[in-house]
Amino acid sequence: MKDLKYLIEFENLLENADNELVQQAQAEGKLAVGYTCYHMPEVLLNVPGCFSVRLRAPRTGSIDIATYYMSNYTCEYARSLLERAIEGGYQFLDAFAGVDACGAMNRCSEHFELLHVNTKPNFFVTHCDIPYKVVDYTVEHDVRQMRKRFLDVLTEKYGVDTSDAALLAAVEEHNEVCRILTEIGDFRRLDNPPLTGYEYHILNLVSYCCPKYLILPKLRETLEEIKTRVPDQKPWYRARVEIVGSEIDDPSLTKLVEEAGAFVVADRYCYGSTPGREPIELREGEDVLTQICRHYMEHSECARYISNEKIQQRRDTADRLAREYRADGIIYEQMKFCDFWAFERPLAGHILAEEYGWPVLSIDRPYNARSSGQLRTRFQAFVEALEIKRIQKKGGNAE
């Protein structure tokens, strides 16, 4: 296939948190609001005058200083962010919209404050309290938290308009990004798709890490390009897989899977498109913020939600996506030292295999997975296993 016009540019944008588009937007007077978690509604960070940057720590090397502060048995993602923050890598931020959802990320954001990693006078860190289940009063709780701990502070510190009209404008922009990425993502359903899982991962990630108004034109153009892109004559992959689990902001993990011969057709993980790229459907007659909060709570696939219906939702979504995108198997992954996914992965992995009938590869992985020989071998073995299953299904004939 011919290379996508913007692929290299997009890859470069992912090399730094304060990439060219972030710098451009700040030069145009916009405020950069960092965040890490789906529980913090992205759309709230994109009210006019602000833009969201989902924080990553690309090209992470040593995390020794963060390890001193947070010890070595803790989430590498949280530690990598702290290391980057201490190095001054998030000095460009005007605010950090944190949530008290998981222990490691909460402590990471607390260290942002304790170690004064950002010296801007109005810089602030929020700690929004996130509920464990979705019922009327927990939605109301979430709304109060978002209003009091984030939106009101944004207004107070920077004079940002967070009225319903501002939120509506942000939702509109957000929905366009979602529609484009959903349309692009749908090409992955095809037998011989005009894009790879890696490319989709890059497109999706830039939509999280760059100002929406600057990335939107390029995404629109890329969609048009993909519509007419001619795929190779024969599909390049040996098996189709869905990746499910905890945070992945490292596209080289997808690349590693695809180098082993598996096409990543669906991504149900944090920083992926499910959840994250579903348009927010608003209706009249109800407060906009409440609708936004409910949307995020209902769509969340976070293992932190304890109630039975959310546990079931997580399993059903993984199954539904695998069926809709015609996956041959599921890779259930977890960031090393993440407690939520450490417990979720084995149980859900067994259930998806035993009750839903999916071949499942269950792995834990480092934050930077690219150089992991062990993972490469496991992906290769999984692809072979999927191929063998396919052969067995066809009664022992390879073709």
Partner: protein, 591 residues
């Protein structure tokens, strides 16, 4: 009304005898297999070696006494022995003999020991058959046979009033344990199979507080995993390893906290009794506990479950209303599942008791903050946690015990007694996830180095009197209380509760040393380790970091834990131990 209601024990069992027969057959098969596989020659050799060692020990002890001056002999007779390391024997589960504490205290010790046995026997005799059967169903039941060892190790070296107070508190805890074990086995489908009881049982998730049950006096609240997992591991540190191994074989990574890991493992191998009208699962205290609930739900699919979840940022009073609604919904759930009705009068009566107990607790703190602390050490800390979390004012007998202990404590304070006579060298407080019980650590600190633990982080919880008149105020206070359950300080609500709070407590308790338990799998705590270091240095506070992994001694052994203190005391403090026999000893297999 008598507590617990005697009617509960008299409910009719419907034991499935065929099931018992099959189980006994399997149990007998395993026992036979073990007997067959035993290397009797090696066993005989070991007994011979033990007999020889015993002979040698007796000869040595006789020689030591012979070599003593008359004054030393009198001291031994009156005050007891001072080399406690000699009580341990490498590879043995039990100590070689009981501690000699001097004539009076040995008599007190023996009386308390006998009293404990009496209570256990009378409790189990309330429904003996299912309880005995439980031993053949659940391996964890067997570990309760060593509860006396747990009591003994926790009072090692104590004399005078301290010995009496600690024994009294242990008695209260074990009575609760025994009564609940009987009920668990009675209601268990595999045991007593008492349906009438099962319909009245409300099961609670790990460490979820019991106060809510005060409003349901006709029901029985049982902390589900407390007896088969959590308390068990404190009595016998080796008991949870099969659970941990089971769930790790299932795919759980080895870096998670052994508490939810063991609970999940117990579900995987079906080691929890099957009973109850409903289950109250909880988001507390930490991320691991949240997730362990899904393993329980998976094992007990038909058990109606309410997920009791509280705001994480609980100091923010604006979040309180959510907590209140959670409590109200939980009450409604219990009513729906059991048919029982919430009783405000019963709740207020129990909470009035709990408030009084809290007042007694504060009196203990007051005494311990002086230069003559009295009620210190692991038993006190365990009692505090048990009373705060599990008893919660429900059992009227506990209040009487409080009164007795505080009477003893005040008298001891007037007499300026020393709980560990001659071993009161350093004041210390314990911070972070405590590991006293697994490793008998506070006791060892006192006996070996004279480091006396005055209080621990998990004991410093909510002490505000709870509302006992107004319904709305009572619900709000209950929410506040639950939000401040044990283990929540370091897991929820931000660093202020645990980091800044330490410096506040250091001001109050004036310790020379802070014992920092570094639980290697506790992410919430270890993610603050650098800040503790930095801020302790700024303030000139001495921290002794002691790594541990709670009920998994394979990660960090008790010996390694003690090694950290030995190293610090010798190299930094330049001190020699009070009891050198406790510097190095092998208790790897000990209860």
């Amino acid at each position: 009304m008598k507590y617990p209601d005697p009617k509960i024990y008299r409910m009719k069992d419907s034991i499935d005898w065929k099931l018992q027969k099959d189980n006994l057959k399997e149990f007998g098969g395993i026992a036979w297999q073990l007997l067959k596989e035993t290397d009797w020659k090696a066993f005989g050799k070991k007994q011979l070696t033990n007999a020889m060692l015993t002979g040698r020990r007796l000869a040595e002890e006789a020689k030591t006494v012979r070599d003593m001056s008359p004054a030393e002999r009198l001291d031994l007779l009156v005050n007891g022995e001072k080399r406690l390391g000699k009580l341990y024997r490498s590879g043995s589960m039990a100590t070689v003999r009981r501690e000699w504490r001097g004539v009076t205290d040995t008599a007190v010790d023996f009386w308390e020991w006998t009293k404990l046995w009496g209570m256990l026997l009378s409790s189990f005799s309330k429904d003996l058959v299912p309880a005995m059967g439980g031993v053949t169903w659940y391996r964890w039941m067997i570990s309760y046979f060593c509860c006396h060892s747990f009591r003994d190790k926790n009072v090692m070296g104590l004399r005078g009033s301290a010995l009496k107070m600690h024994s009294e508190m242990t008695y209260q805890i074990f009575r609760y344990v025994a009564e609940n074990l009987v009920l668990l086995m009675k209601g268990d489908e595999r045991g007593g199979n008492c349906k009438d009881l099962s319909k009245k049982v409300v099961l609670f998730d790990e460490m979820t507080m019991g106060q809510i049950m005060a409003g349901f006096p006709d029901l029985v609240g049982i902390p589900y995993q407390l007896l088969p997992v959590f308390l068990l591991s404190e009595i016998d540190q080796l008991a949870c390893m099969p659970y941990i191994d089971a769930v790790e074989s299932y795919g759980l990574p080895a870096d998670t906290c052994p508490v939810p890991t063991s609970e999940s493992g117990a579900c995987v191998i079906d080691a929890l009794p099957h009973l109850g009208a409903c289950f109250i699962s909880s988001s507390m205290p930490c991320d691991g506990s949240v997730m362990a609930s899904s393993y329980t739900s998976r094992r007990f699919k038909d058990l109606p479950t309410y997920h009791l979840t509280f705001p994480v940022r609980y100091e923010d009073e604006e979040t309180l209303q959510t907590g209140v609604l959670e409590i109200q919904n939980c009450i409604r759930f219990v009513e729906e599942q059991t048919g029982a009705k919430w009783n405000w009068d019963a709740y207020f009566t129990a909470m009035k008791r709990f408030n009084e107990e809290t007042r007694f607790e504060l009196q203990k703190w007051e005494v311990n903050q002086t230069n003559n602390p009295q009620l210190i050490g692991p038993t006190y800390e365990l009692f505090r946690k048990w009373n705060y979390e599990m008893d919660g004012g429900l059992d009227p007998r506990v209040l009487e015990s409080f009164k007795k202990v505080n009477r003893l404590m005040l008298k001891a304070y007037e007499r300026r007694e020393e709980p560990w006579p001659g071993k009161m060298r350093h004041r210390a407080i314990v911070w972070s996830v405590p590991a006293h019980y697994y490793a008998n650590f506070s006791n060892w600190l006192a006996n070996c180095w004279g480091i006396n633990v005055l209080v621990e982080m998990e004991g410093l919880n909510f002490t505000r009197p709870l509302e006992t008149e107004d319904h709305q105020g009572a619900l709000e206070d209950m929410a506040r209380l639950y939000e401040r359950m044990v283990m929540r300080r370091h897991t929820n609500g931000g660093y202020d509760h645990v980091l800044t709070e330490l410096w506040r407590q250091v001001e109050i308790w004036k310790p020379e040393i802070v014992i920092m338990y570094q639980h290697v799998s506790c992410k919430n705590m270890s993610t603050l380790s650098g800040m503790f270091e930095d801020q302790a240095r700024e303030r000139g506070v001495r921290l002794i970091w002691i790594e541990h992994d709670l009920m998994d001694p394979r990660t960090v052994s008790r010996k390694d834990m003690r090694g950290k203190v030995n190293e610090y005391m010798r190299t930094v403090m330049r001190e020699e131990p009070l009891d050198p026999s406790l510097l190095e000893f092998d208790d790897e297999a000990a209860w």
